[in-house]
């Protein structure tokens, strides 16, 4: 599809550990379209964050190793870029917001210093000056002065009150929610096309969580960003995402528009996940879980990695990795139960 901004194809990632080789990602397929919010959900350890980190190549490469696959961004494979190329991709096209705002800002430098660097390097890479500045080649001091103005605007944009004073403060003088706003400002300083938000609200108070999500939603829509939102909170997905991809043990097992996924989950794992949601209306009886455990990544089950926990398991689930089945053009599932309902033919 040509409205695709980012496409991950058959991505395999291993980690070399003392106990052996952990097959962290085993053929991830994921597509992110221009201007859409895609939720990436799954349990802890299923590879959501690793998938996201692999996009801008932020995975530490000795223990980690990408053995197969492509990450296509606007037609180029990011995995093939040299160091300079990937650095400029990060500066120009990408904003990344991480989980913990406390550890993600450098405690030794003022917000001003960190924001100015973000603005300077992102606008340098873009070959464009911070909005509305003069055209003659700017000295580096002039550049930093312009970037300072732009930084204050960015802080206003993410809703920091009193930004022109607070910009001189240090991270420890900000609350967690405020720090996350600053990090969002840094991520968006270069007007990227892609925003990856890796559990951006997990470390925050519940009341602040909603504010930060709303901020991401508003800014994302306003700037026409494609957003990859990683979360284990399906409620968040339902609220702000257009589509959702469910991961299980290193693979994407189902992708669908949000409404379809909630109304008609196909993969037995997705069904279990939705049943495990607490409902306000539901009668008491507590929560329902999925029996079994997350598989060991060093010696994962052959075939479909969910088969040991699956109620509908068939013989060939234990041997063959399920290919994609397209329930509709938009609703894809990787499960042998749907092999025969195949209507649209295999993709590649």
């Amino acid at each position: 599809m040509n409205d695709s901004l980012l496409e991950i194809r058959d991505l395999h990632l291993e980690f070399h550990t003392f106990e052996g080789v952990a097959k962290v990602l085993a053929g991830v397929n994921l597509q992110l379209r221009r201007g859409e919010f895609l939720g990436l959900v799954g349990e802890t350890g299923c590879g959501k964050s690793m998938t996201a980190l692999a996009i801008p190549r932020l995975i530490p490469i000795p223990p980690g190793r990408i053995t197969r696959g492509e990450v296509i961004f606007e037609g180029k494979d990011l995995l093939q870029l040299n160091d300079k190329g990937i650095e400029s991709f990060r500066a120009r096209e990408l904003g990344y917001v991480f989980q913990d705002p406390v550890t993600n800002l450098n405690p030794m430098f003022s917000i001003r210093e960190q924001l100015i660097d973000a603005v300077v390097y992102q606008s340098d890479a873009n070959g464009r000056k911070p909005a509305g500045q003069r055209r003659r080649p700017a000295s580096s001091r002039q550049k930093r002065r312009d970037a300072f103005q732009r930084s204050i605007e960015l802080l206003h944009m993410v809703g920091i009150p009193d930004a022109d004073r607070r910009i001189h403060d240090y991270p420890h003088q900000f609350s967690g929610g405020m720090r996350q706003r600053v990090l969002i400002a840094m991520a968006l300083a270069g007007e990227p096309k892609l925003l990856i938000a890796d559990e951006p609200t997990t470390a925050l108070d519940v009341t602040i969580q909603a504010q930060i999500l709303r901020l991401i939603q508003e800014l994302g829509r306003k700037m026409g960003l494609s957003v990859l939102l990683i979360t284990h909170n399906l409620g968040v997905v339902a609220k702000i995402c257009d589509r959702v991809a469910v991961m299980y043990s290193g693979r994407v097992i189902e992708t669908a528009p949000v409404r379809d996924l909630f109304n008609q989950p196909l993969h037995p794992y997705t069904q279990g996940l939705l049943k495990a949601l607490p409902h306000a209306q539901s009668e008491r009886g507590g929560l329902e879980g999925i029996p079994g455990h997350i598989p060991d990544l060093i010696s994962p089950p052959a075939g479909c990695r969910f088969h040991p926990r699956c109620a509908h398991v068939m013989d060939h689930c234990r041997e063959v990795v399920p290919p994609v089945s397209r329930k509709t053009a938009e609703h894809h599932v990787f499960c042998h139960l749907f092999d025969e309902t195949e209507e649209y033919g295999h993709a590649r």
């Binding site: 800002l105 405690p107 660097d117 390097y121 103005q149 022109d164 001189h168 240090y170 420890h172």
Partner: protein
């Protein structure tokens, strides 16, 4: 927007904070020095032995010894002796040596700069080599540059400095005759006019380049030998704290923003790692002053080391007290400077 805000107000506030911070540190030195003097004084008086007898010699009569004790105020009760001594110290009078009968002041004045210059040279050398070596090591963790640096530093900490001193002295000083064997300045040359007492600085102030290079020539080998242990510690601590800082999540954020790797390392990571490096430099400075005793002895360096060794052998407590207090003052000064540096490096401390 667009208005400049009011950064001036804010920075004034920050400067104020720094002054208060420095003042607090300075005030804390007073009890430290008082405690130090009390402890050294008590130890020197309570330790068994008869300093007066040693100083007066085996032939002396009890009358001579009594007269001597009275002359030095040693017949008074110990608390009174302490108060008298401290009253003198406040006027920078450290008393007189029982043994040589020379004023401790005069000796200290001549010897403090010599030790200070040697220790400073050693710590500067150790830092300028150790910090970059540690950084390179951390950036190439478990690769050849790291192995080389770790092996070297292991050698440096493992060899005792007095042994290295003798080896280098006989190789470079005697066999190849590249460096002077001993001393601080050529015996027959006239030293520059004394301003700071540090010969290198005084000779520069006097505009005497020959004297300056001669000073460097003399100090090079002892300072080098003295620095090796510190160099090793500084390298290793820098490497370890750099590795820790490189693993910080903020580094990943900075990379995701697209800030060039070199800038991330030299600006952000280094600053995070520097607190630990500063700590070890200031600690090493104290240890080097102590370690200088042996190196000074081998290279005939006219510093505090030789003085305190002689005084200890004769149970001559006035010089011991004097030197100990001087060590205390230097050590506290270094600590204050370090504390101020912490404040400058880490805003959480400055505003805390």
């Amino acid at each position: 927007m667009g208005a400049h805000g009011n950064p001036v107000d804010h920075s004034t506030n920050a400067t104020m904070n720094i002054y208060i911070y420095v003042l607090r540190r300075l005030l804390l030195v007073i009890p430290v020095l008082l405690g130090l003097s009390l402890i050294t004084f008590s130890i020197s008086r309570l330790v068994p032995g008869d300093p007066v007898g040693l100083a007066a010699g085996p032939q002396s009569t009890p009358e001579i010894r009594e007269r001597m004790a009275a002359e030095f105020g040693l017949d008074r009760p110990i608390p009174e002796q302490y108060i008298n001594y401290m009253a003198g110290v406040l006027q920078l009078d450290f008393g007189r040596s029982l043994y040589t009968k020379r004023d401790v002041n005069i000796e200290l004045q001549a010897r403090i700069p010599a030790t200070l210059e040697l220790t400073l040279a050693a710590i500067i050398f150790a830092s300028t080599i150790g910090i970059p070596l540690g950084i390179v090591s951390s950036l190439h963790q478990n690769k050849p540059p790291d192995h080389v640096s770790r092996l070297l530093t292991l050698f440096f900490v493992s060899f005792p400095s007095f042994w290295l001193a003798m080896i280098f002295q006989s190789a470079l000083g005697v066999y190849w005759d590249i460096t002077p064997v001993a001393g601080r300045f050529p015996r027959l040359a006239l030293p520059p006019q004394r301003v700071t007492g540090l010969l290198s600085i005084d000779s520069l102030l006097a505009g005497d380049l020959t004297a300056f290079f001669s000073t460097l020539h003399h100090i090079a080998l002892p300072a080098f030998v003295l620095s090796l242990g510190a160099l090793a510690s500084i390298t290793r601590i820098t490497r370890a704290s750099m590795l820790e800082a490189l693993n910080n999540e903020s580094v990943r954020t900075e990379r995701s923003i697209g800030i060039p790797w070199a800038l991330i390392v030299m600006k952000y990571v280094l600053r995070n790692a520097f607190t630990a490096t500063f700590t070890i430099i200031s600690l090493e400075f104290g240890w080097l002053m102590a370690g200088a005793v042996l190196v000074e002895a081998i290279f005939g360096w006219p510093g505090l080391g030789g003085y305190i060794v002689d005084a200890s052998l004769n149970n001559d407590f006035q010089p011991i007290m004097g030197v100990t207090l001087v060590y205390g003052v230097i050590f506290s000064t270094v600590n204050i400077i370090t504390d101020i540096c912490y404040g400058l490096i880490d805003p959480r401390i400055r505003f805390g």
